[in-house]
Amino acid sequence: MTEPILKIRGLKAGVVDRSILNGIDLTIFPGETHALMGPNGSGKSTLAAVLAGREGYEVTDGEVWYAGKNLLELDPEDRAKEGLFLAFQYPVEIPGVNSTYFLKAAYNELRKYRGEPELDAADFLNFVKARVKLLELDESLLRRPVNEGFSGGEKKRNEIFQMAVLEPKLAILDETDSGLDIDALKIVANGVCKLRNAHNAQLVITHYQRLLNYIVPDRVHVLSEGRIVQSGDKELAMELEERGYDWLTKEAATA
């Protein structure tokens, strides 16, 4: 049987004085795309942050296995080097640092970690340009400082572009669709779809069903108050679009 890429069991986590995740169970296999939906404040972004290893969150219970490793024991940069990628909801600006330089540094860290020789600037540029074409992105993004002066849409596209270069095993897309107009949404979704294969997986966090028209998920999960209250196939997302979250959260409360 195939080994799951991600296996979360009974995960509880929160910030100093508040519990946010109250027992999450989730298993993702290679080749799968899962969508995580839910109302504001249900813990979606917290789950992404905990998986990526952001400081300030405390895991109080449960375990997370990633590609056979105990994920919670790894430093954030080692999680990244193991192929876990987070497309940020709010990508930060790094003034003065050229995007290509930044990506080359990230890419070569990956290669070093795998024991592969680093790419020099020229080889890297050729490789990156091919990726740009694949995603129908604007090449000028490469010459600008990381996210500095980017529009909201450009920042999100840039995240997917970085994902295309780093080719992660597990990509977590944290509300990548928010703030995108319909054309940008298509480009981003199209990029993600092109990167899907039998060996990687995606966890797509979103509010709206719209994105899932383009990135069709294998499974849809609804998060409410730090728990997954409903799981289903893509039809669930359609139902949520029509009926909202209320019926589910109420059901969960009365259950």
Partner: protein
């Protein structure tokens, strides 16, 4: 990424790599300062009487001056009677006639420092004047430059060979009475570099001076005088290193730049004097007066400095914009780590019409470092339509350091436009996490963010210097995070 990998390796080692001492016989004056010390220096250099008198006047003036107290730096009183004011590599006969006669140990020292002093390294294409403790030990490319009429030599040689030029310009930008340290320098300066670019000549190569303090307890008081005549242009580089010593050593230099009509001078410094150890012991006191005078119409003087060394830095390279349409620029990166203190900035004095100045200052404080920007923009009544733009950014690393900004703006002409922008930021945890999430370690992330922060200044440096500056920055901030 290979440069960045090198950086990591260097970050890990990270100690001051220029901290060696060259064992060489020195001809030094006894410590202490009085009129006979000055007479001795002047006699050693076989100076004409006018220069001796100039020195003595400066000394007498200095005796009545007070130490500047306004800078935001703290240090125990300096005992001026314990400093050695003259220290020179002992000459075998009457001094080197050419580079081949220079003591091989000196050449070795400069090679360790990476300075292409020998002619065989002419491919490097940089003409170098090297100043070791108090005296200039060799100037490369002197003959080739002379073909274009460019005079580039040690200050002592200039006094001997071009006394009229020296006498006409010496002290006209920084007069001996300018300030305490400038007066001290005028009294005891022992050598330095001199450069004259004649009318209409563009200097075909970068000119460079490397300063090194070697002898213990000695001060270094060099003087640089650079004149660009009508329509001339030149780019000048200055580098500084010193051995690691427990005691503090004084460096009180004076640099005077003069740009006549349509002339351009670009002066770049990478200052890496020994900064003291992690507890703040030892290190150079860098108390320097640098000033450029845009004397002619349409002239331009541009200062670029990267200050990573010294226990204490006190310097304000400025421009007096006298000629109409003249331009002054100041681009600075100042780093303070451990217990380093820097009080640095610029002065832009607008006298002529349509004079423009630009100030871009980047201060980085880490450890217990204290970093102060102090700048004066002064627009005099005659400077109609003068413009200034200033940008002062500070970056803090950790919570024990400090950044301070003191902009002084005096405008006496209503048509002037003066802009000042300032920002203070900390390297954000979200920036670090973003880099971490892409597989980049915290140490590399800091190095990357800091280099990005300084980019506007590095862009102004000549190519080779820009690379050196980035590496230096990495080394000086070693261990400042996590």
């Amino acid at each position: 990424m290979s440069t960045s990998t090198d950086n990591i390796a260097r970050l890990v080692q990270g100690e001051y790599k220029y901290g060696f001492v060259t064992d060489i016989e020195m001809d030094s004056a006894p410590p202490g300062l009085n009129e006979s010390t000055i007479r001795l220096i002047s006699a050693k250099k076989k100076e004409p009487e006018w220069l001796l008198n100039w020195r003595l006047d400066a000394y007498r003036h200095w005796l009545n001056m007070c130490l500047p107290q306004w800078a935001k730096v703290h240090y125990p009183p300096i005992s001026f009677q314990e400093i050695i004011y003259y220290s020179a590599p002992q000459k075998r006969n009457d001094g080197p006639k050419s580079l081949t006669e220079i003591d091989p140990k000196l050449l070795e020292t400069y090679e360790k420092l990476g300075i292409p002093l020998r002619e065989r390294e002419r491919l490097a294409g940089v003409a170098v004047d090297a100043v070791f403790d108090s005296v200039s030990v060799g100037t490369t490319f002197r003959e080739e430059l002379a073909k274009k009429g460019i005079l580039f030599c040690s200050f002592s040689d200039a006094v001997r060979d071009y006394p009229d030029l020296v006498r006409r310009y010496l002290g006209t930008v920084v007069p001996p009475s300018d300030n305490f340290y400038a007066a001290l320098n005028a009294a005891v300066f022992s050598d330095g570099s001199f450069c004259y670019i004649p009318k209409g000549v563009r200097c075909p190569m970068e000119l460079s001076t490397y300063f090194r303090i070697n002898t213990g307890k000695s001060g270094q008081f060099e003087r640089t005088l650079l004149i660009a005549d009508d329509g001339a242009s030149v780019s000048y580089l200055e580098g500084c290193t010193a051995p690691m010593r427990d005691e503090n050593q004084l460096h009180a230099a004076v640099v005077e730049l003069i740009a006549l009509n349509d002339a351009q001078i670009k002066y770049s410094t990478v200052q890496n004097w020994y900064p003291g150890d992690e507890e703040g012991k030892g290190g150079i006191y860098n108390f320097v007066t640098k000033r450029g005078h845009c004397r002619g119409r349409n002239s331009k003087i541009s200062w670029t400095q990267v200050e990573t060394g010294s226990a204490i830095t006190w310097k304000y390279p400025g421009c007096v914009l006298q000629g109409d349409n003249s331009v002054g620029e100041f681009y600075s990166v100042a780093v303070t780590n451990h217990f380093q203190q820097a009080d640095t900035g610029t002065k832009m004095i607008h006298l002529g019409k349509n004079t423009h100045s630009t100030i871009v200052s980047k201060g980085i404080a880490a450890g217990h470092g204290q970093n102060t920007y102090r700048g004066l923009v002064k627009v005099m009544p005659g400077a109609s339509h003068a413009r200034n733009f200033s940008q002062c950014d500070s970056l803090l690393i950790g919570d024990q350091c400090g950044a301070h900004t003191f902009p002084y703006i005096e405008v006496k002409n209503t048509t002037a436009q003066v802009e000042h922008e300032a920002s203070t930021s900390k390297i954000g945890e979200d920036q670090i996490f973003y880099c971490n999430q892409r597989g980049i370690s915290t140490q590399d992330a800091v190095s990357m963010i800091v280099n990005g922060f300084c980019k506007e200044v590095f862009r102004e440096l000549p190519m080779e210097f820009a690379v050196e500056a980035q590496k230096l920055l990495g080394i000086s901030l070693e261990g400042s995070v996590g």
